[in-house]
Amino acid sequence: MNITITFRNRRNPFIPIEAEMITPDAFFNNKEICVGEGNRMVHLTELADVGIDGTASSVDEIEILIRGDAALVKRVGEYMTGGKITIEGNIGMHCGNFMSGGKIEIHGSADGWLGREMKGGEIICHENAGDYCASGYRGGRRGMRGGSVEVFGSVGDFTCEHIAGGEVMIHGNTGDFACAEMKGGIVTIFGDTSRVCANMSGGTCYVYGSAVEMIPTFEKKGTISHDGLLFHHFRGDVANRGNGDLYTVRFTYLQ
């Protein structure tokens, strides 16, 4: 089943839309798709043209295509368990929260909290992602627990905070405090990063670029060759009695 959702131009394009019902699961179960525009609940068709083509015998056969201005459409793909969502442009915050299966592909950029606390499935973002990509919620104990996230651009601050499982690849740079409180999983950062892996207790992080303002409480274990490059190997965070591995090509401590 192919579903095309085309968001129309709105009179006030600055009002955010809460769209946790845009998931393959909701369409598969024939639910009435309602979204919140500001403080009112409306039917999705009031804001977007929805075209449905074909039928599906399982949730995995559903493909949703989102077109138009979706930069303020939040929570798309929340709790999804299967199927595919493709977004032609940008997408708003909290895309793919708690997802446990299926695939989300974003051709533009994603706002904050992409793949927050996800348990499985796959997210690909072709441009940048905002803060808290693949992280947990503020005050939470565990962030992403499984699945994979790949971002071809750069990401904001607190990327992979509290990550406890799964795999994340960032092709660009990250902001401050990437992988803070990391507990598990594998994170690969191809660009530069800052204050990486603060208070980590487990997991593995590779930094192909430069780790600036390295946290001083990491134990240096030597160098290893990986992927044709020489990486410095750190273990820590010692301050947290941590057992995580941090590999970085270059690093500088805070001056």
């Binding site: 919620y137 503020r138 005050g139 939470g140 104990r141």
Partner: protein
């Protein structure tokens, strides 16, 4: 003016001396009156249990640390969501719900007044803001003085009158209701990375011991004639063997007030531990309860622990740090300039944990071993021991030996060797429960004269009607019915209006904040005291003129003016 006539109510009103009389209650406006007008709306109570509105004398529902508990625990916020329904706002949270969540759930339990157990004076505005959005309960705030430098300096100089003047100025400035001491001296020492282990140990920054602070505060409290006594959270909370410290503290309390107690010791369960470490941890509720039985000048509350997830929050910073070292989980720590500190940690009390099981037993033992229900009030130190929604279960445990035994079967098997609970046969009756949940609180807080906690003509029309017919239930056998009955009132009436019906809030409501204003003579007015002004200029991050909470900041409020002996 709304007029209501409650017919055939089975009334228990300990303050008026009514115990189980089927009678009519007439309400006119916000007050209970002698005779009903013919235009009254008549509610036939059909013999249902009718009590004065519940009063929680120690709870944490409003203020900065409560709010921090909310945002450090998203999992807690996800645990108790309800959607908008009629007049009810959206709520969320289980152990630290949103303000409306607290208000609606307390109202469903029949509670109409709440005392915020610990308000940092500097952060009073936040507490008052949250009071405003807890609309179905009247609010009182205990202001923290445990590390107040001005007061401690005055004690150091032996000048109790000056200390009283500083307390008076601060209470008036922050619109507080009573003096709260949390780990006196210990929280102040924590500002320098230390703690106090004994009431006779000198604190690092002042030449004072906790015992001197407590005695000084009790004297100052009486000089100001405050309605409530000093509200004390003893030193060494949660430490094995701390019962000796608690008993020592109680031993210092003089009997100085004939209307009420001289000291209110809160969540005493956490202060009744024996043993020298976690290995030989045991209950010492018996000596503590005996001490209370011998000293009518002391009132305690239980601070009952119930099993399940909750959040601990207290101004006792060093204690929370010790908890953090035990759990190694989330922890918040906060210092409030010259006044106090705080800490927050989420916890999970488990039946299979021996220490938790013993804690559970101690709270019940205190309530059963203290002979007079007026001296041991029912609380969980919400949310430290358990969220207040567990109150009905606690009532059932106190009323039914059978239920206690059934629950005891499910806790850690070694608990039996460490606690006296299985040997206690006492079962509380309806009257005892009415005392422990409203009348006792009203007397301890000194608010009977304000029309709280009783149903005689002239009293505030705060009434809870529970779907329980006391004559038809045997509480010791049918404890399930007790739990159900106390979990949801048939009607909760607040200031003459029905605010809650079968668990749903039906009006928006508007509460009153009670605060005290001791009438201090000009010589003791700290507003114009140069030494006090210098203290502010030198150490506080705010100016003295910006410190007081403006009266406009409170919405509906009632100022209790007291005469002083200064």
């Amino acid at each position: 003016m709304a007029e209501i006539l409650l017919k055939n109510a089975y009334v228990i009103d300990p303050i008026s001396g009514i115990n189980g009389e089927v009678m009519d209650i007439a309400i006119s406006g916000s007050r209970i009156v002698e005779d009903a007008s013919p235009h009254s709306e008549v509610i036939d109570c059909q013999g249902l249990l009718t009590l004065p509105g519940g009063i929680d004398s120690h709870t944490h529902t409003s203020g900065t640390k409560v709010n921090f508990g909310r945002y450090m625990s998203p999992e807690d916020m996800r645990a108790g969501r309800t959607s908008k329904k009629g007049h009810m706002h959206i709520t969320s949270g289980y152990s630290v719900p949103t303000t409306y969540g607290n208000s609606y759930r307390y109202s469903a339990l029949g509670y109409t007044s709440l005392v915020e157990g610990a308000m940092a004076p500097l952060e009073a505005r936040h507490t008052h803001e949250e009071f405003k959005f807890t609309p179905l309960q009247d609010s009182f705030a205990n202001a923290l003085f445990d590390g107040n430098w001005g007061m401690l300096r005055a004690f150091e100089d032996g000048d109790i009158k000056r200390a009283a003047a500083i307390i008076a100025w601060t209470l008036t400035a922050v619109k507080g209701f009573a003096i709260k001491l949390t780990n006196p001296g210990g929280t102040e020492a924590w500002g320098f990375g230390k703690n106090i282990s004994c009431i006779n140990e000198t604190i690092p920054t002042f030449d004072l011991t906790p015992a001197e602070i407590i005695k000084g505060a009790i004297k100052a409290n009486e000089l100001l004639h405050l309605p409530h006594s000093v509200h004390l959270h003893c030193n060494n909370l949660g430490t094995p063997g701390n019962f000796s410290c608690t008993i020592g503290t109680f031993g210092h309390v003089p009997d100085v007030n004939d209307k009420r107690q001289s000291l209110y010791a809160t969540h005493v369960q956490f202060h009744s531990y024996g043993g020298s470490g976690w290995g030989d941890f045991c209950s010492k509720s018996e000596p503590v309860a005996n001490m209370v039985n011998f000293r009518p000048q002391i009132v305690i509350d239980m601070g009952q622990v119930m099993f399940g997830r909750t959040t601990t929050m207290t101004a006792d910073g060093p204690m929370e740090f010790n908890l953090y070292r035990l759990h190694h989980d989330k922890w918040s720590n906060h210092d409030v300039e010259l006044e106090t500190g705080s800490g927050i940690i989420p916890v999970n009390y488990r039946r299979k944990n021996l220490v938790n099981s013993i804690m559970w037993a101690i709270g019940l033992e205190l309530a059963l071993l203290v002979k007079s229900p007026w001296q041991c009030l029912l609380t969980t130190d919400n949310p430290n021991g358990a969220p207040f929604v567990k109150y009905p279960e606690i009532i059932a445990l106190l009323m039914s030996k059978k239920y206690r035994d059934a629950e005891f079967e499910t806790v850690h098997q070694d608990t039996e060797k460490r606690v006296p609970l299985p040997a206690i046969e006492r079962e509380l009756d309806w009257h005892d429960i009415a005392v422990m949940t409203r009348a006792g609180q009203a007397r301890a807080l000194g608010i009977i004269d304000l029309g709280k906690g009783h149903l005689s003509p002239g009293a505030e029309a705060d009434i809870a009607i529970y779907p329980i017919k006391p004559d038809e239930i045997d509480p010791s056998a049918e404890y399930e019915k007790i739990i159900q009955g106390f979990a949801q009132t048939e009607y909760t009436i607040k200031r003459g209006r029905i605010v809650s019906r079968r668990g749903d809030a039906i009006i928006d409501g508007e509460n009153t904040t009670f605060w005290v204003k001791p009438k201090v003579p000009a010589a003791y007015d700290m507003q114009h005291d140069t030494v006090f002004q210098e203290l502010f200029e030198r150490y506080y991050s705010v100016r003295m003129s910006n410190y007081p909470v403006q009266e406009e900041y409170l919405h509906r409020n009632h100022c209790i003016e007291t005469e002083t002996d200064l």
